[in-house]
């Protein structure tokens, strides 16, 4: 399944105008701060409305409510819910029955090796654990595309190196297009993959 986008959005200092076809697997999105990387993710996620253009998965143009998961920079985990409820949130949104929800949450927790944290509160987690919860929460709904907004930026340097390896392993066999916003050129070596570069709203390959 290919993620195709061709969108325009006026920003304060320039117009974001970006088009690309992204196959399954990780694509790094690089570029300086303020180049429009986060805006592009928000457009693809449906959190911002483009001034023009379209976003499609395969040949299907995406509706406003789309099955695209976004991992936020600081993870945006819900502090009033425990880990299991965070992971199950998207299933609750899709009205998945409680029994099936519990099963799928447990499978996701197992997959990300955080089963023992099921009842923990978000504020009890380390940075690396938070990232696993955020990934589990994003992937448990089986999204058609995954977006990650600098998922390593919130971590201290020592943790970052370890978590980056884990994240690369977890994303290696992802069967959907995954766009990974990165500030760090050394990410390329870990995530291999294609790289898009965004500068002042325009993509260069």
């Amino acid at each position: 399944m290919t993620l195709r986008f061709d969108v325009r959005k006026r920003l304060r200092e320039f117009t974001l105008d970006a088009a690309a076809d992204l196959p399954a697997g990780v694509t790094l999105l690089e570029g300086p701060s303020g180049a429009g990387k986060t805006t592009l993710l928000l457009l693809i996620a449906g959190l911002a409305v483009p001034d023009g253009g379209r976003i499609a998965l395969g040949e299907r143009v995406l509706p406003a409510a789309r099955n695209v998961a976004l991992v936020f920079q600081e993870y945006a985990l819900f502090p009033h819910l425990d880990v299991a409820a965070n992971v199950g949130y998207g299933l609750r949104a899709r009205s998945v029955p409680a029994a099936e929800r519990a099963l799928r949450v447990r499978r996701a927790l197992d997959r990300f090796e955080i089963a023992e944290l099921a009842g923990a509160r978000v504020n009890e987690l380390s940075g690396g654990q938070r990232q696993r919860v955020a990934l589990a929460r994003a992937l448990v709904v089986e999204p058609a595309a995954l977006l990650l907004d600098e998922p390593l930026a919130a971590l201290d340097p020592a943790t970052r190196d370890r978590v980056r390896g884990e994240l690369a392993a977890m994303l290696a066999d992802i069967g959907v297009p995954a766009v990974f916003v990165s500030h760090d050129p050394s990410d390329r070596a870990h995530f291999g993959a294609r790289t898009l570069r965004l500068e002042r709203g325009e993509l260069a390959r």
């Binding site: 409510a65 945006a76 009033h80 609750r92």
Partner: protein, 258 residues
């Protein structure tokens, strides 16, 4: 020297607050207190205050929550004006609120003929008590809720949206639970203000036992008529409720800070 002056000034003000309130207890025996509370007048006042403040709080939550959300989040022309208007009843003297409500909803008021045509007579009724209480007390909740919604983390709501929750369920599952301590504090303040409401009530709703004679009005009437034990007993009840409110607001504030 300066320390002694500061301590003295502080002690004078604290004593000024505590002594009269504590003095209420010296004016009644436990037996007299129990007996006074068993009188029909006291019973009616307690019941009426419980019912009207509950309805007032319900109306405030139902109408005040959307208003607070719009004031905190929406950008529309005149927002600042609406914001100021929503705060107005906090500073308008209750007697003025009472006469304004009378002019608006009274039998000869602006909306009087319309209400009369539907067979509704608001003034000097229990409904008038609720209107008076809502007018003066709703802004306390709206203020607290507006501040809480303005401070809420929008990223968490965005996360909820990307996970497939619609705006209404995001509000119910994310926005409200995260704002809950502040909403609770505001609701308690509104309830306390409604419970103590006197001026607007007596002008707009009158002072009829069982209809519009709430606790503060019963205190006033029984003091006037010389039935001191009832006035004293009901005053003690009101002070006890006030103590509870202050403690509850403090506790939620501390829990929020922690």
């Amino acid at each position: 020297m300066l320390r002694a002056v500061v301590a003295f000034a502080a002690a004078v003000l604290v004593a000024f607050i505590v002594l009269p309130l504590a003095g209420l207890l010296a004016h009644i025996t436990p037996g007299g207190f129990a007996e006074a509370l068993r009188t029909p007048a006291a019973h009616h006042a307690l019941q009426l205050s419980a019912i009207t403040t509950t309805i007032t709080l319900t109306i405030t939550l139902l109408l005040g929550t959307p208003l607070a959300y719009v004031l905190a989040r929406a950008d529309f022309p005149g927002r600042r004006l609406v914001d100021a208007v929503a705060d107005l009843p906090i500073v308008v003297p209750p007697a003025v609120a009472g006469i304004a409500l009378l002019f608006a909803f009274g039998r000869n008021g602006t909306l009087g003929p319309l209400l009369h045509a539907f067979g509704v007579q608001l003034s000097f009724s229990t409904a008038a008590v609720v209107l008076a209480q809502t007018f003066v007390s709703a802004p306390f909740y709206v203020r607290a809720a507006r501040a809480a919604f303005a401070a809420g983390d929008r990223t968490l709501e965005a996360a909820s949206a990307t996970l497939g929750m619609g705006p209404l369920r995001t509000f119910a599952y994310i926005t409200v639970p995260l704002a809950a301590p502040a909403l609770l504090g505001g609701a308690v303040l509104t309830w306390a203000r409604a419970l103590g409401e006197f001026g607007a009530t007596i002008m707009f709703a009158g002072n009829l036992e069982g209809v519009s004679q709430t606790l503060p009005l019963a205190v006033y009437l029984n003091l006037e008529s010389g039935d001191l034990p009832i006035a004293t007993a009901l005053s003690i009840v009101l002070v006890a409720f006030s103590l509870f409110v202050v403690a509850a607001v403090r506790l939620t504030a501390e829990r929020e800070a922690a």
